[in-house]
């Protein structure tokens, strides 16, 4: 056969080989294609190209394939490729199950969500890492997609370079391979150029796959952690948004809430008890059981009142004897007589017959009648009298020595111990009050009211908890966190310095003091910072919807009224006036009072911290400009005390804690100041240039023992008027709020009640207005007692505490990020850099031409 013929025949042949059964039809061309021969189907494999438009479909198709694989795996018909997909399904299932479990152990929504973000980021990192660290760099460096997917003829999608021993090169056209070769710089005129490029691609792919295995273990956890780190705040914001939106609807739900009171546990338990004791006397045991069932555990004070009123209503001092009680009386009587009298005959002679006793009781009018304590005394008397009559009959036939004395019988009848007394025993066991229909109805109505109000009240509490409670991620907590962050951004304190001072209170105080002086010294900077602080303070306006200053104006306050008042009215109608009062009375410990006070206190705590900052900055500016500084000017105080007042005021504002306010401060001032120098203090660059005061030169002393210093400090901090510029920046509403805060601080921190010397009280500014120069007629102010809690809330968090907390959190976050961000960048850099050295393939030897 000629070579040319063979060439021609093979090029025209599109299949592979004929089967053994086939006989070549033409001897010259045995492999020529014939339609009637059995031949393989044409291959349908192709490279998969994904782009932005077909990616979603590709993704969905992938999921569908995975699910189909699961089904086939279950039926036992899956192939290798489908079984491989089950690993991904298992990984996702296990990961999701773990995230779900861990989420159930978390309290707040964002923490729950972060568990899912965690597993999601891990899975995403596993998928993304080879793309960003290997696929894209290789594409840029070597010009081909090393993670190219292809579909085989069975429509199974695989990575092209997964198995270097099986690469279906026929899926790449010559054009595609040549294009890649051009990118790689492979000479155009090379022999077997396609083979060379393919070998190079294969080598790079093998190296890349190995690099993937080597780097992924280090990179994926770090990448996942970095994603979580960055996702945390957005997730929190998202959860906060949903929570706020949800909260808006909660209060309305409280009003519309329908409660199946009759399906409640309390109602069912009561119902069984009532059915069991229907028409029975209300003994103390039954009353206790009822009291144990009907409770209001949400509020112990309400519960206490309820229990007392229930006992009062269900207990009667009177009793009723039933006809059948006669037999029981006789049994006890016989038993008591037996203990006193040895002769059985005598006892039998004395103990009346049942008919006899019944007759006595009937005649005495003791049957089916409400018997009071006096009636039981009479009954006892009757019994004694009748027994004595029987005794005289019994004794009449006996010798003197055998006679039984009357005292013996009377002792047996009038046993001092009630429970052993034949009659008194029935006082407790036969109360006159019975569990009749009316009482049962009253109890049922009571339970319905309590269950219903508890249900509604819990919705209100849920609302207020989600808005204001001292828990992570409440609306107030989120605002407080953002305040913390933004305050220090506004103050513009360099982070490096804060970082250094984060664990040292003295350093932090020094830093804060110097920065406050810096800001106060510059008009523009002061105004800028004050404007930012005012904006931060105004964020609290969003809570005006919850607590109003006076009356019940907010929807929250109205809701409390609309939930509690109808219940209180109903309880009053049922005869539970004290319980009704404990629900909706004006006392601060009523359910209504507690709900309102809780909200007000929580808001006060945060607002005080912000107002304190604003007041602090204003005071620094007032000192820097010597404006509105009360007795710091003029010749009323010696310069040494003026300097001490400024020092103590600044120190107090920056770092006085709640405990400092409680003990009235210690200060290292001079106990014997120089009264000859009455000049004004000197200010330079916002700072006081002290002539006398030197920190640490004198021992600490109790400031409350020094009324002049203490009074001057309180006045400078809280009583001297704020700057007009500050007020204009704050705006009318905020300005008034802060004025009220300062007013309260002056009264409750600075008044005589907390002051050691009885006559050293301050001016009552409630009556005289702000302390003005020349108006120093001190008189005893009105009695202003406040709780420690109130003062605790009013102090707010100190500036140094706020700064240290902020600095520590930021330091931790930055340290973590520095370490793992660095590791992440390092791994990524190394992974990319090494790819520049991949694919170095020796060029084939030049073909030697033989002439």
């Amino acid at each position: 056969m000629k070579i040319d013929n063979i060439k021609n025949s093979t090029t025209s042949y599109k299949g592979f080989f004929p089967t053994l059964r086939e006989q070549p039809q033409e001897r010259e061309n045995p492999y020529a294609l014939r339609d009637d021969l059995i031949k393989p189907l044409p291959p349908e494999g192709h490279l998969v190209r994904t782009n932005l438009f077909n990616a979603p479909k590709h993704l969905v198709d992938g999921w569908a394939y995975d699910l189909k694989s699961l089904k086939k795996g279950f039926n036992g018909t899956a192939n290798d490729h489908e079984l491989g997909k089950l690993n991904t399904i298992g990984l996702v299932t296990g990961g999701t199950a773990l995230a779900a479990y861990l989420a159930t152990r978390k309290q707040v929504a964002s923490s729950k969500a972060m568990e899912f973000v965690g597993i999601g980021s891990f899975l995403a990192s596993m998928a993304i890492w080879p793309v960003i660290a290997i696929q894209i760099p290789t594409k840029l460096i070597h010009g081909f997609n090393v993670r190219q997917h292809y579909k085989d003829s069975m429509d199974r999608e695989k990575l092209f370079f997964n198995d270097p021993q099986y690469l279906p090169w026929d899926l790449y056209s010559d054009e595609q391979i040549n294009k890649i070769g051009n990118y790689m710089g492979v000479p155009q005129d090379m022999n077997n150029r396609r083979d060379y490029i393919q070998n190079k691609m294969k080598k790079i792919a093998t190296q890349d796959n190995t690099l993937w295995m080597l780097s992924a273990g280090f990179a994926v956890p770090v990448m996942s952690a970095l994603i979580c780190n960055q996702a945390e705040q957005p997730v929190k914001n998202l959860c906060a948004y949903f929570r706020t939106e949800e909260n808006k609807k909660i209060l309305s739900k409280a009003l519309e809430a329908k409660c199946d009171a009759e399906g409640s546990d309390m109602y069912k338990r009561l119902d069984s008890l009532l059915a069991l004791n229907n028409g029975q006397p209300l003994t103390s045991g039954v009353v206790n059981e009822i009291s144990d069932i009907i409770t209001y555990d949400s509020n112990p004070i309400v519960n206490q009142k309820l229990r007392a009123e229930l006992a009062n209503k269900l207990t009667s001092s009177n009793s009723i004897l039933n006809p059948e009680d006669g037999g029981k009386i006789l049994k006890i009587l016989e038993k008591n007589l037996t203990t006193k009298i040895d002769s059985k005959e005598a006892v039998q002679a004395l103990v009346p017959r049942l008919e006899e006793l019944s007759e006595w009781l009937e005649q005495g009018g003791f049957i089916n009648k409400e018997l009071g304590k006096g009636d039981f005394v009479k009954l006892n008397g009757l019994l004694s009298k009748k027994l004595l009559e029987k005794l005289s009959v019994h004794n009449s036939g006996l010798a003197e020595g055998e006679k039984i004395s009357a005292d013996t019988v009377l002792e047996a009848v009038n046993n001092r111990i009630n429970s052993k007394n034949a009659v008194n025993k029935f006082r407790a066991t036969r109360p006159a009050m019975v569990l009749n229909e009316q009482t049962q109805e009253m109890l049922r109505s009571l339970v319905k009211e309590l269950v219903s109000v508890d249900h509604k009240s819990s919705i209100v509490k849920d609302y207020i908890f989600k808005e204001l409670s001292a828990a992570p991620e409440t609306t107030l907590a989120n605002v407080a966190n953002s305040v913390n962050e933004d305050v220090f951004k506004a103050l513009g304190i360099p982070w490096k310095e804060m970082d250094k001072a984060r664990s040292n209170r003295d350093l932090m105080n020094q830093l804060l003091r110097s920065n406050m002086d810096r800001i106060a010294a510059d008009k523009n900077e002061f105004e800028t910072v004050m404007t930012q602080l005012a904006d931060i303070a105004k964020r609290m306006n969003q809570f005006d919807k919850i607590v109003s200053k006076r009356g019940n104006r907010t929807f929250f306050e109205q809701t409390i009224n609309r939930v509690l008042n109808p219940t209180a009215l109903a309880l009053e109608n049922l005869g539970f006036a004290d319980t009704a009062e404990a629900f909706a009375g004006l006392r601060p410990d009523s359910e209504k009072g507690i709900l309102k006070a809780f909200a007000a206190n929580r808001l006060m705590s945060i607002k005080s911290s912000i107002f304190r900052l604003i007041n602090n900055l204003d005071m620094h500016r007032r000192i820097a400009t010597m404006t509105n500084v009360g007795n710091l000017t003029g010749d009323e105080l010696p310069r040494e005390i003026k300097e001490e007042i400024v020092e103590l005021s600044k120190r107090t504002q920056v770092h006085a804690h709640r405990s400092d306010y409680a003990i009235k401060f210690f200060f290292n001032g001079n106990t014997h100041p120089d009264y000859t120098d009455m000049s004004d203090i000197e200010i330079k660059d916002g700072k006081v240039v002290n002539r006398y005061y030197k920190a640490g030169t004198a021992s600490y002393r109790d400031v409350s023992a020094d009324p002049t210093l203490y009074r001057g400090t309180m006045q400078l901090m809280y009583a001297d008027e704020m700057l007009a510029k500050t007020n204009s920046i704050l705006g009318q509403k905020l300005s008034q709020e802060i004025a009220r805060y300062r007013h309260d601080c002056f009264l409750y921190f600075g008044d005589e009640w907390h002051f050691v010397k009885p006559e050293s009280f301050l001016t009552d500014i409630a009556e005289t207005g702000l302390c003005e120069k020349g108006k120093q007629n001190y008189h005893k102010p009105k009695y202003r007692r406040s709780s420690n809690k109130f003062k605790y809330l009013m102090t707010g968090i100190s500036m140094d505490d706020m700064a240290m907390r902020y600095a520590k959190q930021k330091h931790n976050a930055k340290s973590w990020m520095k370490l793992f961000g660095g590791i992440g960048v390092g791994i990524l850099g190394a992974t990319i850099a090494v790819q520049f050295f991949f694919g170095r393939t020796p060029k084939p030897l030049e073909q030697v031409k033989h002439d």
């Binding site: 699961l70 086939k72 795996g73 279950f74 039926n75 036992g76 018909t77 899956a78 192939n79 290798d80 079984l83 089950l86 690993n87 399904i89 298992g90 990984l91 299932t93 296990g94 990961g95 199950a97 773990l98 779900a100 479990y101 861990l102 159930t104 152990r105 997964n162 198995d163 270097p164 021993q165 099986y166 294969k202 080598k203 790079i204 093998t206 190296q207 796959n209 190995t210 690099l211 295995m213 080597l214 992924a216 273990g217 280090f218 994926v220 956890p221 770090v222 952690a225 984060r502 664990s503 520590k808 330091h811 931790n812 340290s815 973590w816 370490l819 793992f820 991949f838 694919g839």
Partner: protein
């Protein structure tokens, strides 16, 4: 490519049996291995060391003999490195935190580290929860290993080390199981269909079948697929359960007090006692839960899901969809009839 003799002489390589330089291979052909602890440990060790040494070295240089087996074996690296890194993510930065923050971060970090260890252990151990019962019920050992002798291309003209051993499982590929290894060798007096006869007996197809291999092969395939599925899915659920267990509070006490300086007297005892106590308390807490609602039952649900996936997987694996009749195929063929083979 064949190495020129001259090169071998140059390198003083001899193929004589007495030469100590000649590589001693354990296997000269593909060999079925026993699935016991010793073999599994040996294979595990071999694969582990190769995954950390030879295979990455070959892969990163783009060796033409690198193959998919090596790539898959190298999957150990991300597991180990990832586990270590995951522990590091929760612990390495703690020393930079302030004292109180460090203390809190340490507690969480140690628990996470314990979680990583538990995850790995549970994921591997739990596979036997499925494969062992299936083996006992059907006779099909889906984990049956064999040593594959692999002939490579020489890296250079001087390369004479062209044989490598790979450890695979007989049923690793469902499309191409190594049926051939399961046939007995007549020359050694083994029954050719011995293995298949045994499986057929276990599956209740009867004894002395004419072609037991043909009868049971489809069933074995089905068992293997179902077992692999159950093994995969349930192992992840067990792993998740183990992490849940590691997250319990009693471990904090163990990690605070435990010392791993076992060479000191009494330390090993104390640590073990403390571990057992923490494990018991954590298991109770995990099972009984805390708080109200779903949190109270989440541990039970988690454990139940893992146990259920295992039990359901085993039941599914031993329940055949197309179980053939016990009748021998020849008994339904009537000799006088004519049949057409399609």
């Amino acid at each position: 490519m064949l190495s020129p003799i001259g090169n071998n002489l140059e390198n003083k390589i001899s193929f004589s049996a007495s030469n100590p330089q000649e590589k001693k291979l354990n296997y000269s052909h593909d060999t079925l291995l026993k699935n016991n602890l010793l073999t599994r440990t040996r294979i595990g060790f071999d694969k582990f060391t190769n995954a950390l040494t030879i295979y990455p070295a070959k892969g990163i240089t783009g060796n033409k003999n690198s193959n998919f087996y090596e790539f898959l074996t190298m999957g150990t690296i991300p597991y180990i490195a990832g586990s270590a890194m995951l522990m590091g993510v929760f612990n390495l930065a703690n020393k930079h935190f302030s004292h109180f923050d460090k203390k809190k971060a340490d507690v969480l970090g140690k628990k996470m580290a314990l979680g990583v260890i538990f995850y790995g252990l549970a994921k591997n151990i739990s596979k036997s929860f499925v494969t062992t019962p299936v083996k006992h019920l059907t006779g099909v050992d889906t984990e049956l290993p064999y040593a594959k002798v692999n002939y490579e291309l020489p890296d250079s003209v001087n390369d004479t080390d062209v044989v490598s051993i790979e450890y695979h499982k007989v049923f690793e590929s469902i499309e191409f199981p190594r049926w051939d290894l399961l046939y007995g060798d007549d020359s050694k007096g083994e029954v050719r269909n011995g293995y298949y006869d045994k499986i057929a007996g276990k599956l209740g197809l009867g004894d002395n079948l004419n072609d037991s291999d043909q009868e049971v092969k489809p069933l074995i395939r089905e068992v293997v697929v179902k077992t692999n599925m159950a093994k995969t899915i349930s192992s992840y659920l067990w792993a998740a359960t183990a992490v849940g267990l590691a997250m319990q509070k009693p471990w904090e006490g163990f990690m605070d007090g435990a010392s791993f300086k076992f060479w000191k007297k009494g330390v090993a005892d104390r640590t073990c006692t403390s571990f057992v106590k923490a494990a018991k308390d954590s298991a109770k807490l995990f099972y009984h839960g805390q708080g109200q609602g779903i949190g109270k039952h989440s541990g039970k649900i988690m454990l139940g899901a893992a146990a259920l996936s295992t039990a359901a997987g085993v039941l599914n694996a031993v329940n055949f969809t197309k179980k053939p009749d016990k009748l021998d195929a020849s008994s339904v063929i009537i000799p006088t009839e004519k049949y057409e083979v399609c």
